[in-house]
């Protein structure tokens, strides 16, 4: 079956005018639901919620300054990894060939999950002492998710977590150097920059934009059988 024939099938199968007008929304919703299910989006949302709850619980504890700064980064990396993992497709090549809407579905999934991750972690910090504040969370989640998406495109969705997890180590070390000089001040290590640092925000946004663009156009590199 080719993409053209696949596109033709639903139209041919709907006889009445009413059915024809109702089709796009119902079919679209179904398509979205199926895409989300195939990418384990509900599990990713649960993982993001778990990260937010974990952060909230952790914030109840007593942390020194260094620990307090490092703590949100751990959960941000976890949430970013969860978003990146949803890029793994269990269907592979057949879906790429026939899925006309696939780029849009990938884009919608990545954007929605990134927004959900940022929102959940920001919400977790409300009323608690969240080091760095909301801007820090938004910037870090965006950047780490971008790294995860780029990793998914390069390594495959299943191993996309390696990027956020690796950046977590690098970011935590950059935070460490703020106490133990010489400090690392490059904006590419945004977790170590102040929340209002424009350069760091631009770098994180660039990484996210590139990651989303690459994932939208190419999708994750997924070996069949994984």
């Amino acid at each position: 079956m080719t993409a053209d024939t696949a596109r033709g099938v639903p139209t041919a199968a709907t006889p009445g005018r009413k059915a024809r007008t109702a089709w796009p929304s119902r079919a679209g919703v179904r398509l979205l639901r199926l895409h989300a299910a195939s990418r384990r989006v509900p599990t990713a949302i649960a993982a993001i919620a778990a990260c937010a709850i974990g952060l909230r619980i952790a914030l109840l504890g007593h942390w020194d300054t260094y620990g307090a700064l490092q703590l949100p980064l751990v959960f941000e990396a976890g949430a970013g990894a969860a978003v990146a993992i949803t890029t793994a497709s269990p269907i592979g090549e057949p879906e790429r060939v026939t899925g006309r809407w696939l780029p849009f579905l990938r884009l919608a999934t990545a954007l929605a999950l990134t927004a959900a991750a940022a929102g959940a972690l920001v919400a977790a910090g409300i009323g608690a002492h969240l080091a760095g504040g909301t801007l820090d969370v938004l910037r870090n989640v965006a950047g780490v998710t971008g790294i995860g998406l780029l990793c998914a495109a390069a390594l495959g969705g299943g191993l996309a977590w390696a990027g956020p997890a690796g950046y977590l180590v690098v970011g935590a070390y950059a935070l460490y150097t703020q106490w133990h000089h010489p400090a690392l001040t490059t904006p590419w290590l945004w977790p170590a920059r102040p929340p209002h640092d424009l350069g760091a925000a631009i770098c994180a946004a660039l990484v996210l934009a590139t990651g989303i663009a690459v994932i939208t156009i190419r999708g994750a590199r997924d070996p069949i059988g994984e």
Partner: protein, 507 residues
């Protein structure tokens, strides 16, 4: 090729070597297809970025570099090892081959053990490579001492435990989300496990990233005058080995992962592992900061490690020799140059030290994680008298440049040497204070430069301004030619120290 030519089935295998050969072949296959192999570049890159660069910026001393290697390398390897092990553990579920593997001749537990062995082997190969590089470079730079192997053993045991934990998570909860959860969780657990440490008697010191008193940094004064104490490392290795055994034992417990006959020994193994780990945690809680800056655990302590190390000091060719522990040879020129003006002033005076010698620092646990570092006993003692001093980086503080180091030596040891020889202290007479001030000025240590550095005579760092008559007498004495000053001191120092000289009697 036809099916007739396939040689595999007909080859006879000696009865005793069959299982071993099969296990070896399985291990070879696992080694070839293990995800940890592909994670090694990531781990080594993280090691270079977070640990190697930091260690190379430190003085070429074994303890600070070993402590940096210990904590840094473990954090760099934690997520790749745990993540790769979880990825390998969930492999059968991912490829939907669990049932296929379960029905083979070998119990599934054996397959998992082989997978764990392969993952751990690659992790330890990478880890030992990093250790070899860092220790190799340090061996070329360090002037004395040798590599510390206990921290390396703790690192290797940690990687085994991380690999077991990751494999167990991947096997018991196979999902595409397991590997990242385990990877991030491993980093979280290790990096933040030190947060609850309060003082040297904390059970949390069992955390494998801890190599000494927490929050003390990588003290360059530790393990140079006394042996490195392996007490805490032994407890950590015991904990990690117990944990590894317990986790691997747990993998044999559920139905389907092993034969029924394996369950009883697996239960015993798991229990033994948990007991070992629990005992190690209890032992870590009995640790105590010893006087030499390391954690001593009474049940694991070897009294032989409390004896000072023997060494031949390296000495300068100054008017009074300055002698340091050979580990600090690179600091000798700067130390000697900083003290030369003071030593020229006091050399040959009655009661002047015959030698300036570096002393070992003594450590005491204060409230929380704070530690006070000082020197036991008087600074000037013995016959002939020897002045004992601590180098500035033996005390807590930021890293120094060479010029900052020299300034700190001048304003601490330099001032103390003059004060000890002249008798300048809390009960000093005006004449003693005037002569001490004059000698400091002549040695390039006027009152203005002695602002903040605390010395033994000025523990809080404050300088009490000299009264006008004392200041005037000091200025007068300092204005004398060096030889006249020296001659007068040779004749009158004993009386001056005894408090029998008045300001008016000063030349």
């Amino acid at each position: 090729m036809t099916a007739v030519r396939a040689p595999a089935a007909s080859r006879p295998v000696p009865a005793g070597r069959g299982p071993l050969r099969a296990a070896a072949q399985l291990l070879r296959l696992e080694l070839r297809h293990n995800a940890m192999l592909w994670m090694l570049p990531v781990a080594i890159g993280l090691f270079w970025f977070t640990t190697y660069r930091k260690a190379m910026a430190m003085p070429p001393l074994w303890y600070p570099r070993a402590a940096t290697l210990h904590g840094g390398t473990l954090l760099a390897f934690a997520f790749p090892v745990a993540g790769a092990a979880a990825w390998m553990g969930s492999r059968d579920a991912r490829r939907r081959t669990t049932d296929l593997v379960t029905t083979t001749a070998q119990p599934r537990w054996v397959h998992l053990l082989v997978t764990w062995t392969a993952t751990t082997c690659w992790a330890i190969v990478g880890y030992l490579g990093c250790v070899a590089i860092l220790y190799g470079v340090t061996a070329r730079q360090a002037s004395w001492g040798g590599p510390l192997w206990w921290p390396v053993a703790v690192g290797a045991a940690s990687l085994s435990a991380l690999s077991a934990a990751g494999l167990a998570a991947g096997t018991l909860a196979p999902s595409r989300f397991t590997a990242p959860l385990v990877a991030v969780g491993a980093f979280f657990a290790l990096a933040l496990s030190t947060q609850p440490i309060q003082g040297s008697q904390s059970y949390w010191q069992i955390s494998p990233v801890v190599s000494g008193p927490w929050d003390d940094g990588f003290d360059p004064g530790v393990a140079t005058f006394y042996r490195y104490l392996p007490d805490l490392s032994i407890a950590q290795v015991m904990f990690l080995a117990g944990l590894t055994i317990a986790i691997l034992g747990i993998l044999a417990l559920p139905n389907g992962r092993s034969g029924r006959w394996l369950r009883r020994p697996a239960t015993v193994i798991t229990t033994a592992g948990l007991l070992a780990a629990g005992t190690a945690v209890a032992l870590a809680g009995t640790g105590k900061l010893d006087a030499h800056g390391m954690i001593a655990i009474p049940a694991l302590h070897d009294a032989a490690n409390d004896r000072p190390l023997r060494y031949t000091p390296v000495c300068s060719r100054t008017a009074i020799p300055v002698c340091l522990n050979p580990a600090y040879t690179s600091y000798l020129p700067a130390t000697a140059a900083a003290l030369t003006p003071v030593l020229n002033e006091i050399a040959g005076l009655p009661g002047a030290p015959a030698r300036i010698s570096q002393a070992a620092a003594t450590y005491r646990q204060d409230a929380g994680n704070s530690i006070s570092v000082g020197m036991a006993g008087p600074s000037l003692s013995g016959t002939p008298p020897v002045f004992r001093m601590l180098l500035p980086f033996q005390l807590p503080g930021p890293t120094m440049t060479t010029s900052e180091f020299a300034a700190a030596v001048r304003s601490t040891a330099g001032v103390d040497i003059v004060a000890d020889v002249i008798g300048d202290g809390p009960g000093a007479t005006p004449a003693q204070r005037a002569v001490a001030a004059a000698l400091r000025t002549s040695a390039g240590l006027p009152e203005e430069v002695l602002r903040s550095a605390p010395t033994r005579q000025r523990p809080n760092g404050a300088i009490v301004p000299l009264p006008a008559p004392v200041r005037s007498a000091a200025r007068r004495f300092a204005a004398l030619p060096a030889s006249a000053r020296h001659t007068w001191l040779v004749r009158h120092l004993a009386a001056l120290r005894a408090g029998r000289i008045t300001l008016a009697q000063l030349p």
